[in-house]
């Protein structure tokens, strides 16, 4: 049967894709060194071919999953004939090898999208594609040499597969990794634009304008990916947390923080021609942290719920790849940047400086998280003992940093570029400031439970500050001649992003301060009270699922008046193939609170250990993230990104002196 050769064809397509990536990387490089403009033109078709070939390769791996070809080792290890088809589909990226192929395919997809972009000069496009080609080569070599998803189990073909990890048998897994990878890999495009600009020596405002939409889209995907991951962990792991400061979560936070900084500094570079070298460095750093996260997760150096199966060869390869990427790009940076000069000036009270402050804080936050994440690895490597850094470290530092960031988040939009008189700024912010302080610090913290708490006050003050300044700016901007139509899409994007951030802060503040988590022993018929609600275990039972058997429980919740409000049906599942238990949580969700009931373990014949959590406003964290992500997409749809601007922009302020 022809279908049996799909894996070989898939691998063949992967190798051909590597060849195409090499053409895409090397021809423009050779062409610009030997001044053969025609060679530059190879990049675009090569990028298309690479994308097509990787699509074929990915499709063939997917097909092997769907037809249960257990002669393929990766399929045998991560699928099972009893698995529903949609999990067979998402199992393609359920473990190391397949998720790498997804990574590559997404990179090829981004490359394809870049190659279609209009208004880019031919030589710029060729250089960008060339850099992306090099990234692709590195990662493809990694896949082909160390992590081939098409390896066969021959001749002893297993009769059935080892099943997908039950934790991953969830709709969340269908979306979380692709979203996340779209974000990680998307920063490769920004990186490529930065390196291409350094390479040409033309680091002008046009470069920043080309980079901005790509950065924003990548950021939007990363934001959504992280939020989905948080939501998935919340209901799937059964611990009820939404962020654990787990090293792998931190690994995704690093590029997110730097990407956020990058989006803002790109705005300064585009509008004002300032901070160019800083912006380029940040673009390099953002992608480097994407790769660093990749290394941390895939090499097995981390001790985390997420870490993939380990193999020292992989770690070494990835470390070399990471070193090469960072080393080479910093070399190019060092060679080119001293020739850059910005001629614009700015004063201390200006949007320029406030955005710089935003950048400093975000970079400090990145370093904080990075330190807490890699410190145990460094200590271990130096044989100074096995340590772990606890969440209090992160909370103690990250929370104040974000509070400080919030102050500038309110100031930035209301301030003028270049310089602004203090009294003018004061006039703009006094009302927002007054409302914020009175309501946020003095009034609102009492509302929820009648007592005042510093963290709630700080959190709510911050939320109000961001919201009031955003609306103030909206009102201000809408008073110009064009009215509300005068507010550009990119400005709406900024508003949405900041309001989304305010919602996240609100959710975090409420759930951290007013949430309650109780582990209780529940015997049938004995009520337990949590936050005024009365919970009663009515019955315990058993049930058979398609590939698991489950202990089930029925828990009734009564409100303080004794009325039955909701019945929870949590389960504790045992998945047969892997012999792995899983907690199926039952959640009564709403905008103001989630009530979360999960089964722990049987403690007697008629009693079960249960987790009952009360989580006020927890959903706002994810809603806020999605709003921020959508807002970033909105900003990209602004028409100015579609207007073709004549080359060598005429902006006198910002013309950079060029290298040659």
């Amino acid at each position: 049967m022809d279908i049996l050769y799909l894996p070989e064809l898939g691998q063949f397509a992967l190798i051909l894709a590597l060849v195409m990536a090499s053409v895409q990387a090397l021809m423009p490089l050779a062409g610009s060194m030997t001044r053969q403009p025609l060679w530059l033109a190879y990049a675009q078709p090569a990028a298309w071919a690479q994308f097509a070939l990787l699509t074929v390769s990915f499709a063939f791996l997917t097909a092997s999953f769907l037809v249960d070809d257990f002669s393929v080792a990766y399929v045998a290890n991560n699928s099972n004939s009893a698995l529903p088809w949609y999990y067979k589909f998402s199992a393609v990226w359920g473990a190391h090898e397949g998720s790498l192929l997804l990574w590559l395919w997404i990179l090829a997809g981004w490359t394809f999208a870049v190659s279609l972009s209009k208004g880019l000069p031919v030589e710029v496009l060729a250089r960008v594609l060339s850099v992306l080609g090099f990234v692709s080569i590195g990662m493809m070599l990694f896949v082909i040499l160390t992590s081939n998803p098409f390896d066969r189990y021959l001749p002893r073909i297993p009769t059935d597969g080892a099943d997908l990890n039950p934790l991953l048998q969830d709709p969340g897994l269908i979306f979380h990794p692709p979203m996340l990878y779209m974000g990680y890999v998307g920063f490769a495009v920004t990186f490529a634009f930065a390196l291409a600009a350094l390479w040409s020596g033309k680091l002008d405002t046009a470069w920043a304008r080309w980079s901005r939409p790509w950065t924003s889209v990548a950021w939007a995907f990363l934001t959504a990916g992280i939020a989905l991951g948080s939501w998935w962990a919340y209901y799937e792991l059964g611990w009820g947390g939404w962020w654990f400061w787990d090293p792998v979560e931190n690994a995704s936070l690093l590029p997110w923080l730097l990407g956020t900084a990058l989006m803002h500094t790109l705005a300064v570079t585009e509008k004002r021609g300032l901070f160019k070298s800083w912006t380029v460095l940040l673009a390099i750093a953002t992608f480097s942290t994407s790769l660093l996260g990749f290394f941390l997760v895939r090499s097995g150096v981390l001790n985390s719920v997420h870490a993939f199966a380990n193999d020292p060869d992989r770690g070494l390869f990835l470390l070399m790849l990471l070193g090469a990427t960072i080393g080479l790009s910093l070399l190019v940076y060092a060679l080119r940047v001293p020739t850059l000069k910005a001629r614009a000036s700015y004063s201390l009270i200006s949007k320029d400086v406030f955005l710089l402050a935003n950048n400093v804080i975000l970079v400090v936050a990145t370093l904080t998280v990075l330190l807490g994440t890699v410190y145990p690895l460094i200590m271990d490597a130096l044989n100074l003992g096995k340590i772990s850094v606890g969440p209090p470290y992160f909370n103690a530092l990250f929370v104040p940093q974000m509070l400080l960031l919030g102050v500038f988040m309110g100031l930035g939009p209301l301030t003028d570029w270049k310089s602004m008189r203090l009294d003018k700024l004061r006039k703009k912010i006094w009302l927002a400031g007054a409302i914020t302080l009175v309501l946020g610090f003095a009034v609102l913290p009492w509302v929820y439970d009648g007592s005042w708490n510093l963290w709630v006050a700080l959190g709510l003050t911050l939320v109000l500050w961001i919201v009031t300044t955003t609306f103030r700016d909206m009102w201000e901007t809408s008073r110009t001649k064009k009215g509300w139509k005068g507010i550009t899409l990119s400005r709406w994007g900024m508003y949405g992003g900041h309001l989304g951030a305010a919602l996240i802060v609100l959710g975090v503040t409420m759930v951290s301060n007013y949430g309650e988590e109780r582990d209780v022993r529940m015997a049938i018929g004995e009520p337990v009270t949590v936050k005024g609600y009365e919970f009663t275990l009515v019955s315990l039972g058993e049930r058979e699922g398609p590939n698991f058997s489950a202990d089930t429980a029925v828990v009734e919740m009564r409100n303080p008046n004794g009325r039955l409000q909701r019945t929870f049906r949590p389960e504790k599942r045992m998945y047969h193939v892997r012999g792995m238990p899983m907690t199926q949580v039952s959640i009564d969700w709403g905008p103001l609170k989630d009530i979360y009931v999960a089964m722990g373990e049987p403690v007697a014949d008629d009693a079960y250990a249960m987790r009952i959590h009360y989580k006020p406003f927890v959903r706002w964290i994810w809603w806020g993230s999605f709003i921020a992500g959508l807002a970033a997409i909105l900003a990209v749809m602004d028409r100015r990104y579609r207007i073709r601007v004549p080359e060598a922009s005429g902006d006198k302020l910002t013309q950079a002196r060029q290298a040659d």
Binding site: L371, V389, G390
Partner: protein
Amino acid sequence: MTPKRKQKLWLLGLMLVGISLAVGLTLNALSANINLFYAPTQIAAGDAPKDRQIRAGGMVVEGSVKRDPDSLLVRFAVTDHNEDIWITYDKILPDLFREGQGVVAVGHLNDQNELVASQVLARHDENYMPPEVAEALKAAGKMPDHSPFAKKNSSDDY
């Protein structure tokens, strides 16, 4: 000094102050929140501090898990096959907690040299042994050969 220079100097100064403040706070927070791992042998020898949070772990001793009939309180022993230590815990044990499996617990030692745990971790992977536990077993010379962990963690890369 030109106004522009003055302005740059100001910015630079502010950044320096900010950065040194940040570095100081960071190192302070870091040193206060580090949890060192101790193997049962080290704890039994009295090497582990009593006044700060530590991590301890090993294989859960078969038959050692005792539950309080009225609450969630549970007591069990972990071993590196050289020494045992007792751990008490009053919350829900993780799904993968089993007798004979490797676990890591975070908590404080009490006067009886028992660990009062605030968190017990067992990994969401059957074929996994916490690296600390694997190393503790190796140090005690008790790594079981047949164990899948023996193969997985045999390299000394981490």
